[in-house]
Symmetry: C4
Subunit: 203 residues, 4 copies
């Protein structure tokens, strides 16, 4: 019961955040003699930012989903660490809008925007790792004792994510477009990785 | 369990997107001597766009609902293709606002606005077809082997939708109002079609 | 199953609409020498509109809730008539904002704003009656045959609501404040009426 | 059944309100020669307000969750008092935005902003106490008769919350930053308090 309500609340937040991204997409105001087609085309940084953030939040939801499939008992620490994850995840539309507004300015603005974006995503990834560490630290939460190699594999997978986001953060200052591409590549990789998960039998 | 959470998340996104449409409706600012009644009346393209998009998203939710009634097992491909559908569906408030802002300008702006709208709806329809093709391609997902004629009928129904949206996209450049009317007619047709579905016995 | 998803989707739309009302409340911009306290106080029409609309949507949710407690089978007509109700209910934040912006202007603007508000609420109430009529028209939907006097009582209750909203609509043109007061009084009456419903045993 | 839908609706409102907080965070407009990094840094009152309100709403959700774990029967009074709680809780993004906009102005504006914030949070806390008092006043709602000392402890815990918010309201006029710090401290205290709740066995 407790777990159902935690999942329902989290799903609600994920669903709202992923949908709020569209609010940043506003009809353009045309300059004199500008065609609507041109103005809509000029919004491509917004489309790109929408796409990457949608994929990142979608992947986070999929991971959250798989993580909680294993959870059987919810304690206070889990509730609070889950809130902490939602805090950072719910922020993502804000740096998404900053990237959309400043990525084309180039120079320090583009670097700052992508670094800001990378920082928020990194904090969300760290929050994910903390949540998973909490789930693993107490056998009662999962109800089963995982084989050590499974735990190590899961820890490694999360650590690699954090490392990549640190790299993206560093890259932002040198090559913001490459850093943004790294975010897109990672989200795409995780999506294809998830797509290959075999079907689960119904409970 | 997995299927329940997928439906809950999708329902959340559908509910939020259909409700965000109202955000585009803002109280008008009155020109000198203009009456509020006149200003509210002038917003009719917004009302029309609200109505058509509400109907389209409502129909998509009904179809999603019926499609997942048949699903018994959720695999990774289904999760990712469902996210892809939500990506395009969640975009709809943006082209809706573009149509509301530019349809009355006539000329190239009206054509571009309706073509943009038609394109996003078309991509959502194609995503729907891809999701359904995935559900059909593996007997384990539905848990039953559908009779071939039922599969053919379902495929035909989705293909007709895609064809009509392609026609609407093409029509946008020639007669944007007719293209918009085609969207309204299709949503209305699907709604009346759904309304005639007989009652299902409770599980 | 079908009924659960219909309720979940409807609850999502109700929850979002009732929460979106707060978006209309924006921090004021201070005039020269104006205190924040005065500027916040000047927003009282917004607070009033927030309060009345919150109560109206809350009452609609409570009624929706009670109505679907009786439903056992969902057919296509029910799905479409429910979507129609959500369409009008989801519009309410828009006339709410119009009332907040124009009620203090007095004259024709105040009348138009409250009439617009009354009209949308009236259409939502009519949609409610249509939904209930559909539920009653087919014994299979409720699974039980209601005693005729219960049906008559329910029909009367809904008709009275519609009649009062028609009166509010008419009053708007003569005395917009009185019409607004009628809305507040009705929402308050329904809330106190609901508050006296005895507790239901858990299923 | 009734209880499930009440929880689902409430969870929806909580999830939306906590997520709408991010809407107040908008990409900055740069002054001449200003760096984006500086402009983002200047938004720290917004980040602070986001953080505190996120924590407060998160704690409210956790409390709501624990309170309804004990509820077995839903009556009309519970529904209406729950709506009343949601009314005040859903308002929070508005005073949050007011604090973010005016806290740095100092003087009367800062005091008014924090007092307004404290007042809305206080009304939400009082609504919580009223809801809990209703749950306690009728043994049938919880299905068990709580030991008197447990009732006293719960009443004391809620009363302390109300008292602290009254203190924060008073402090706002003298030292708005201290009052804001008190809100942050209380939310932090409740979060750590919740984090120590032992795990519950699955139902």
């Amino acid at each position: 019961m407790t777990k159902n309500r935690l999942e329902a609340f989290s799903d609600g937040v994920f669903a709202i955040v992923i949908t709020l991204l569209v609010i940043e997409l506003r009809p353009p105001e045309l300059d004199d003699g500008e065609s609507l087609a041109h103005a809509l085309w000029q919004l491509w940084p917004n489309y790109l930012a929408y796409l990457i953030s949608f994929a990142i939040i979608g992947v986070m939801w999929l991971n959250h989903h798989r993580m909680f499939e294993q959870v059987r008992i919810v304690d206070g620490g889990l509730l609070v660490l889950n809130l902490n994850l939602l805090l950072w995840m719910a922020l993502i539309p804000f740096p998404t809008a900053v990237v959309a507004d400043f990525i084309r300015d180039g120079g320090a603005s583009a670097s700052t925007a992508v670094a800001f974006y990378s920082g928020v995503v990194l904090l969300a990834a760290i929050s994910f790792s903390a949540l998973y560490a909490w789930i693993l630290h107490d056998d009662r939460i999962m109800g089963v004792r995982l084989p050590p190699e499974a735990v190590r594999a899961a820890r490694r997978r999360f650590s690699i994510g954090v490392v990549f986001y640190v790299v993206a953060l560093g890259l932002s200052f040198v090559a913001p477009w490459v850093a943004l591409g790294l975010h897109a590549a990672m989200a795409g990789y995780y999506l294809f990785d998830q797509a290959s998960v075999p079907s689960a039998e119904p409970a």
